[in-house]
Amino acid sequence: MQEVRFRVFRYDPDKDGRRSYQTYTVPTFKGMTVLQGLLHIKEKIDPTLSIRFSCRMATCGSCGMMINGLPRLACYTLIEELKTRTITVEPLRNFPIIKDLVTDFEEFFTKHRWVKPYLIRLDTYEQEKSNVSYRQSDEELEHYIQFAYCIKCGLCYAACPVTATDKEFLGPQALAQAYRYYADSRDEGGVDRLRPLAEGSRLLRCHFAGSCSKVCPKGVDPALAIQLLRREVLLRT
């Protein structure tokens, strides 16, 4: 059986608060994911290791972490495909660390909520009470469906060089969602959605470094959404 070494970032604010790396040797099997490797460590070697995961199938978006320097989902990354004997796992960049590989998504979700990630209708009575559904053609669906695939895993947020230092910038995930709802034919938010984005660093600090789209595990392409959103903001507000 083949073995790989896991170099795992450790941090425990309740113990000594020191940041360090600990190395574990893990036996592998064909088709083993990084998450399975980490679970092996937690079950068989070191129960103090903290990780966050749930679905194990790239759907819940909980297991994002830096794997060999790139933000990836641990459950979606095969040990084999990394092609290294030592795998370095660290918590996601641009997020505060809670413990070991677990990061704090508070700011991330605050920004997500800030863009109003829900349908805005002028007639709210209809929205709450009606039993007829909103009609939408296939073509209208194509305008935004790609961005609706987002699982809020935060990988794009960890990859972005602007979010790294600019706390006012909303980040690729929230901006992609802003465009997702703006482009939805059922949404009536219109220019009111755009206006707040024309101010300050919220949207206009994107420099198209494309790193978000590079790491997104669901093919959401936030960089595309942000440019389409920026065109609307620049031309319509």
Partner: protein, 117 residues
């Protein structure tokens, strides 16, 4: 100014630099040998001849303003991405505006006096 207005001006000054900068490079490198453009006078595109030509001087003046805006706005963007304290951002805005104005004033002085020389 609204961030969006500044953002649009960044594109517009960029396109302006493309045109006026091309004229500037053409007069220095393409329309006459480099040595001739660097000499004080005596050639059609030597230093003082360029400044005395009202169209070329006006184009240089435009280039000066465009680059000052575009460049210092770039500096402001970079500095504002570094840290987001309110006072810090206000200091950055003022410092960048003052620096841009100083460069424009000094450059304008050169162009105007050299034009009249």
């Amino acid at each position: 100014m609204r961030e969006k207005t500044i953002h649009l001006l960044h594109y517009i000054t960029g396109i302006g630099i493309l045109v006026t900068g091309a004229i500037h490079l053409a007069t220095v490198f393409l329309l006459s040998p480099y040595e001739a453009s660097m000499s004080f006078d005596g050639h059609p595109f030597s230093v003082i001849s360029v400044y005395r030509n009202i169209l070329l001087a006006a184009s240089l003046q435009a280039l000066l303003i465009f680059v000052a805006f575009h460049g210092f706005n770039g500096v402001r963007t970079i500095l504002s991405e570094l840290y987001q304290g309110k006072t810090y951002l206000r200091i950055v805005n003022i410092a960048v505006t003052v620096a841009a104005l100083a460069v424009v004033i000094y450059g304008t002085r050169t162009i105007v006096i050299a034009h009249l020389l």
